[in-house]
Assembly symmetry: C2
Homo-oligomer: 275 residues x 2
């Protein structure tokens, strides 16, 4: 088999998408990756759809300039508002977002057809998860909870501090404190897997936690197979990092999300404004 050794492009507003890259690299250890964090303009989660679309187009242009064979939007907010725009713009390079895989996994996990989605303000306002879930399961009841403070807690590396537990209780306590509570919780922001421990302690062991990083990695693996795009034995598993601001902070905070050290010297500073 010939194999396609071109890298897979992954982008996010910042470092949260590294949880997706981590899952991708674990599932596809031979593939090469190019990761772009638009750290000069993060967060996307509080910005308007038009602004996020413009930013996502610029990020995708940079990745295509690096010769990628597929683009993964490792950001829920950008997936929610820009997936279709990007898919239409660069056919035939496949573009995969995190919403659809997360919705599919949520639907597969629920038994009582009540699903809670934790996300940023932008993702919740756009309602993309609720629509994606209800396309697959029309009778599903979806509760969307914006959890903006979780983003800062995750970036600070406060996986399981008293403040994180208190914030989880604040956001999630009311959602799960009644008889008809959801039995499935979709982590609809790539930052949130870092807080999974505190979230689990708050909602209890009976609730299924869906991590869209894992489910997106699976969707990417399937798309590579079906498109004949796998690297085969030609890949070397290298990862290149680009950031639009402070390589130092990218390396330091990014390590929390990637789950391993990042050398600041391996992070290249780029300017997207003219991309």
């Amino acid at each position: 088999m010939a194999g396609d050794s071109r890298p897979i492009g992954v982008f996010d507003s910042g470092m949260g998408g590294l949880t997706v890259l981590r899952a991708l690299a674990a599932r596809l250890p031979q593939e090469r990756f190019v990761y772009l964090g638009d750290t000069a303009r993060l967060p996307y989660g509080t910005k308007s759809a038009e602004t996020v679309q413009a930013y996502a187009l610029q990020a995708t242009r940079l990745l295509l300039g690096e010769g990628v064979k597929m683009v993964v939007i490792a950001c829920n907010t950008a997936s929610a508002v820009a997936l279709y725009v990007l898919q239409e713009s660069w056919d035939p390079v496949p573009v995969i977002g995190v919403i659809e895989p997360g919705a599919r996994a949520g639907v597969a996990a629920t038994k009582n057809k009540r699903i809670a989605v934790l996300a940023t303000e932008g993702t919740v306002r756009g309602g993309a998860y609720a629509r994606a879930i209800q396309r697959l399961m029309a009778e599903a009841e979806v509760v969307q909870q914006p959890c903006q403070v979780f983003v800062a807690l995750a970036e600070e590396g406060w996986s399981d501090t008293p403040a994180t537990l208190a914030a989880a209780q604040h956001y999630l306590g009311p959602l799960f404190a009644h008889d008809n509570a959801p039995d499935t919780l979709v982590l609809g922001c790539t930052h949130f897997p870092v807080l999974a421990g505190a979230i689990r302690r708050t909602v209890g062991s009976a609730v299924a936690l869906v991590d869209s990083a894992e489910t997106t990695a699976l969707a990417v693996a399937e798309a590579l197979e079906s498109g004949g795009l796998t690297t085969g034995n030609k890949g070397d598993g290298t990862i290149r990092f680009f950031a639009t601001d402070s390589p130092e902070r990218f390396a330091r905070v990014g390590a929390i999300f990637l789950g391993r050290e990042i050398d600041e010297a391996d992070v290249e500073l780029v300017d997207l404004r003219n991309a």
Copy 2:
């Protein structure tokens, strides 16, 4: 007295600077104000000095285009890295930042010459508060504590929730849990006055809290007087708002910081990228 009825320009990365505007409007009720929140690119606190300087220059150009007689940088991060750049660029329009007034008030308040400064990562990294304080009091001992989670808590309006108290304990507990603790705490980010209650409960009543919004308003009043720029009886106290993203969110979150309702229709969307 003739009076100078031109407005005072105030800018911040987002809504936090509205705590400064609130103090300004209370102290100078006749003056007109133009407030610009660069919400499409917030936060500045985690971005590099070069990036923040470029953004601050664009913000200032927009305010000058509105005919302001003075520019107030209602953002600690931008004050720390861009004040001198802006002062050199647009003489004779005076530019006032929040760092110098905060440092002055901190020095006036301390008795044991130990001052703690709470700020964003960017402000702490730049060290501007420590330098400003030590210029005024060479023997002062300054502890700088980055409190990035406080920004999100303030934007969520969580003035005094259990999560806010837990975060305050996490950041401040170790600073104040010994005999040589600071007796003065400078709130070195315009978001933080919203959390003053929780901070006060954490550090106790013996510590002086310095709110740089109040001290900046005083500095602006003095500069207007000494420069012959007061509006006299010509002013009407109007405030105009500009934001670079989502007027809806600006109005909603901004109300927390301004301490009164903001009508979304009064917020004009602007694009700074070509300013």
